[in-house]
């Protein structure tokens, strides 16, 4: 067994485990059942508390706002799976990037709604719960965005830094609000955050905006305007790599180095000595690490520090070199004594291009498989994951998607989404689905119909049969014979159809008439599903024909029922008894041959072994019936022979 990655944290279950009682537990599909046992370390055994506790790890699945995340991402997931395989991966990159952006926009939409609700709600614990979810979603979006930049978009040197700058800008939005605040105030230059705003903008590489804010200063102080103009020039001439332009990376590098020397010269000349703020900015432009570190508060995170550092020291950074700078930036920023948080470690692994470590750490840190399942699936489509076979199950992507979908299946409503996820797990998806789909509770017929459609579309005939049997049994118990029959027809379950027919026939012999005539009269081709059912249909038809006084047809039908051996043996007596009124009619209905056949049937019936449980009374009734039948048959035979022998003149 492998070692545990992290020490598991204990969860306290209120109301259990008192008095040193041992707890027992049982795994469920998504949760854990915990109960107190009778076992005690010391003291006499006695009954424990009668409660069973349900412990659920994943509360997110119950949140109504996060449900939108699950539903919308399901749509994106299904769309992703449909992208055709034949186009080579390179041409699909923009598609993958746009899908990644779709996922992220869904996360952002959810985040905004959670934030709105957190503000509006009056319940304190709910507000803090929303707050927690918001921060988790923020972290998820941060990691996803970085993965998109580094892995999916896979920007080369030059563009890499631009993407990283965008990434940082997106996740440090308070700069805009502060800038707006400063600019809209009466006297921007005297605002306390003025220089903070300028420096923040410079750190994010937004030189034009920084210049705009600085220009407020320049218009004021005429005497030091030359200094401001100099700074303005420096900011303006900072080269920015244009990936779509004709300039190559080396050309850009040369230009940048020139500019860098220019800044350095300004620093050495003490041009900005008069204004310490401008001097700080110049130091930053030169890429002085200490100057950058001084701005810890404005940077607020080590990865911002990393990107700013790269911007001013190494803008042509290549992806493989990233991790060296990342590690050192983190160490410098956090200091020797601080321990990095899980998020920091995940980001560092991303900078080191260690995908598996990223996925692994995310799986441990989050309590829901949503993020890792979708991200891994997307990365797998980009062919970035080596087929990393695990010791159990199949590859990593399938494992994570299966785990996520299994979690979804435990939800009373979201199980329908899980079906599509299982569909796209080629190795084990079908087996998982077969096991899970039978356990969906079926309260109404409509839900059963939906579940059946899922099974039928995937040719899961076992499950179809079992579900139809459950519904048919339930219908039978409630005396809904028509419903029961329609379920058996759907499952093509001959055995159950026979059972239902038996029930009908039982009702008939008890009550003397058929119930549910609307069903029996309109069986149609479904009659052929089982022999008993065919018999039932035909028997009912016989009664109808008799009712319509079409005696000869009725007689023919009755005879065929017996001779074709469709009728069960136990009912032959009943059928023969039904023949009695036909035999007793004034007109001869049964022909000679037919009468002989009836007689042979009667004899066949009597020659069978006697039932052991028959009482004397029953035997008497049976023999009386037989006598009556023999008499009628004989009379009919006589009349028929006479009739057929007569020549009509």
């Amino acid at each position: 067994m492998e070692e545990v990655d992290v020490e598991p944290s204990p969860t306290l279950i209120p109301g259990a485990g008192f008095h040193q009682r041992h707890l027992g537990f049982e795994w469920g599909p998504g949760d854990l059942l915990v109960y107190e046992t009778n076992y005690k370390l010391q003291g006499s055994k006695s009954a424990g508390s009668p409660f069973v506790h349900i412990v659920r790890k994943d509360e997110d699945i119950c949140s109504p706002i996060l449900r939108k995340l699950f539903n919308e991402s399901h749509l994106i997931f299904v769309g992703l799976q449909k992208i055709k395989e034949d186009v080579p991966s390179k041409n699909k990159k923009p598609q993958f990037v746009s899908i990644s952006k779709n996922y992220r926009s869904v996360i952002r939409a959810c985040m905004e709604e959670l934030q709105q609700n957190a503000v509006l709600t009056q319940d304190g614990s709910l507000a803090s719960q929303y707050g927690d979810q918001v921060s988790i979603l923020l972290a998820i979006e941060l990691i996803w965005n970085l993965c998109e930049v580094l892995f999916i978009d896979a920007a080369p040197a030059g563009s890499l830094l631009l993407h990283l700058l965008d990434w940082v800008r997106l996740h440090k939005s308070d700069v805009d609000t502060r800038a707006r605040e400063v600019l809209q105030s009466d006297s921007p230059t005297r605002h306390q955050s003025y220089w903070d705003v300028v420096i923040s903008l410079v750190l994010q590489g937004r030189m034009d905006e920084a210049r705009q804010v600085l220009s407020k200063q320049a218009s004021l102080r005429a005497e030091s305007s030359s200094v401001f103009r100099r700074m303005d020039v420096l900011l303006q001439t900072m080269p920015i790599f244009n990936p779509t332009g004709t300039q190559t990376l080396t050309e850009f590098d040369v230009k940048w180095r020139n500019w860098h020397e220019e800044c350095d010269r300004s620093l050495q000349d003490n041009t900005f000595a008069s204004n310490r703020h401008l001097e700080t900015i110049c130091k930053i432009l030169v890429g002085d690490e200490d100057a950058l570190l001084e701005q810890k508060e404005l940077l607020s995170t080590w990865y911002h520090f990393l990107v700013s550092r790269l911007l001013f020291t190494h803008p042509t950074i290549k992806p493989p070199d990233l991790h060296y700078y990342a590690q050192s930036s983190m160490n410098m920023f956090l200091g020797p004594r601080a321990s990095p948080e899980p998020l920091d470690i995940i980001l560092l692994s991303a900078f080191e291009f260690d995908l598996h470590q990223v996925i692994k750490d995310c799986s441990i840190a989050l309590n829901n498989w949503w993020f890792v399942a979708h991200l891994t699936d997307l990365l797998d489509h980009c062919k970035l994951l080596q087929s990393h076979n695990l010791h159990f199950g199949s590859n990593l992507r399938e494992f994570l998607v299966l785990e996520y979908a299994s979690g979804l299946f435990t939800h009373h409503s979201l199980w329908q989404l899980a079906v599509d996820y299982f569909d796209h797990c080629p190795e084990f998806g079908r087996v998982y689905l077969e096991l899970q789909i039978e356990r969906v509770p079926l309260d109404t017929e409509r839900k059963a119909i939906k579940v059946l459609r899922i099974c039928e579309d995937r040719q899961m005939s076992e499950q179809v049969r079992s579900i139809c049997k459950i519904m048919a049994k339930r219908a039978l118990r409630n005396n809904r014979l028509g419903s029961a029959l329609s379920w058996s027809i759907r499952a093509k379950d001959a055995a159950f159809a026979t059972l239902i027919s038996e029930r009908f026939l039982q009702d008939y012999s008890n009550k003397g008439s058929f119930t549910d005539l609307d069903l029996l009269d309109n069986l149609g081709p479904a009659m052929l599903l089982s022999d008993r059912l065919t018999f039932l249909g035909k028997y009912r038809e016989f009664h109808r024909l008799y009712g319509e006084k079409r005696f000869s047809e009725a007689a023919k039908l009755l005879l065929s029922l017996m001779t074709a051996k469709i009728a069960p043996r136990s009912l032959w007596m009943t059928l023969l008894t039904d023949a009695l009124p036909l035999l007793e009619q004034k007109e001869v209905i049964f022909s000679v041959d037919q009468t002989y056949e009836l007689m042979s049937c009667l004899e066949e019936l009597n020659s069978g072994t006697k039932e052991p449980n028959q009482t004397d009374q029953d035997e008497d009734i049976e023999s009386t019936k037989t006598e009556l039948l023999r008499l009628s048959l004989a009379r009919n035979l006589a009349m028929a022979i006479v009739k057929e022998g007569t020549i009509e003149t």
Partner: protein, 372 residues
């Protein structure tokens, strides 16, 4: 396609219905109700779609529906209908039929009356599967095979037809003021006349051949004898109930169960269907025929079987487009209304130029510029 708005509402939607607009004004509907299913706590919710006149520069209406109010609902909402402007009737999987009252300006919706266990088995609950209203009368049908008639203001039910059906009745619609038509899970249409005392149907229609369960039925708004049904195999059938045992048209509409079929209430040459396969189709007859000419000539003279092909230049303005029974492309056009394949579309409603539908993907789609 650009006029479709989607909103995710965190509950699987079983029914969506527009609130009726007063017939005098030509307003577009702007309030709709949804019912949820398969939740631990189901709800009936009322939404508004915002000002009709407000649009941005592109001419798109990008107002998202806003939740106005909602109410807890015991059991799945299996059917929902507006009785009038302020009252909503729902059919529940617990067997109850409930009336909800909507406050003026939709501030709140609350339970006004409930007929508990209207549908039941002797030892169990029987879900009530469908209801239809024609104020003040309500008719409900359920899995127990009963047809029950209520009056909106009376606490006791007016009439119960016991054992109306041996199988589940899936849908019901009014044909005339005292006649209803039900469809069941062995593929039969049954007409019931409440004026008759007996508990047996006035007429039974069914397809010869396989008894495929029928799930929905709708009557032509102007012609009481034309009825459309949809079933488990996704076939759309148009029937003439006076004529007898065969439908006039059999159209392969969907690849899975058809959940709802609706004629457009004011322009009956348009038909809408939605299905378990995730599509919503808009059917249009293109022959430009007219109902009134049909009445003048009489349908008897033009009974066309469904395999007939019209001759070139034939004067077919006489026959109702639906009864012509010909589903070749020149007569009937179907367009997909939803942008992409979704999970099952459970319900739809059309009124004037607005369409609303709800899916199992917990999304409501609204289209406010229908080409009708």
């Amino acid at each position: 396609m650009d006029c479709i708005n989607a909103k995710y509402i965190s509950q699987k939607i079983s029914k969506t219905r527009w609130r009726p607009v007063s017939s005098a004004s030509l307003q577009q509907p702007d309030v709709f109700a949804t019912g949820s299913w398969d939740n631990e706590n189901n709800k009936v919710s009322i939404w508004s779609v915002g000002d009709h006149g407000v649009s941005n520069i592109d001419g798109e209406f990008d107002e998202e529906p806003q939740l106005l109010c909602d109410s807890q609902h015991e059991g799945d909402v299996l059917d929902l209908q507006f009785l009038d402007q302020d009252r909503l009737v729902s059919a529940s999987s617990s067997g109850a039929v409930m009336i909800f009252k909507l406050q003026t300006d939709c501030q709140a919706v609350s339970l006004a009356h409930v007929w508990k266990r209207a549908h039941q088995y002797s030892c169990d609950n029987a879900p009530c599967t469908a209801i239809v209203c024609r104020s003040p009368e309500i008719v409900s049908v359920g899995e127990d095979g009963r047809v029950i008639l209520y009056k909106a203001d009376q606490t006791e039910v007016v009439r119960v037809i016991e054992n109306a059906d041996s199988s589940t009745i899936h849908a019901v619609t009014f044909l005339r003021t005292t006649e209803v038509l039900t469809v069941n899970s062995i593929g039969q249409l049954k007409m019931w006349d409440f004026r008759q005392q007996s508990d047996s149907p006035a007429q039974i229609l069914s397809l010869t051949g396989d008894r495929v369960p029928l799930h929905c039925v709708d009557k032509h708004p102007n012609q009481q004898h034309i009825v459309a049904t949809g079933g488990q195999d996704g076939m759309l059938c148009i029937w003439d109930v006076r004529q007898g045992n065969t439908p006039f048209s059999l159209i392969e509409a969907h690849s899975a169960e058809m959940w709802e079929v609706h004629f457009h209430p004011s322009n009956p040459n348009h038909l809408f269907t939605c299905s378990e396969d995730g599509s919503l189709l808009h059917w249009e007859t293109t022959s430009g025929s007219d109902m009134s000419t049909l009445l003048q000539r009489g349908w008897n003279s033009r009974v066309i079987s469904h395999s007939a092909v019209p001759q070139a230049g034939e004067n077919d303005s006489v026959v109702s487009a639906w009864l012509a029974g010909d589903s070749s492309k020149s007569r009937l056009e179907a367009t997909h209304m939803l942008p992409s394949q979704t999970l099952s579309v459970n319900s739809l409603d059309v009124l004037e130029q607005c369409l609303v539908c709800g899916t199992d993907g917990e999304a409501v789609y609204i289209h406010r510029q229908l080409p009708v």
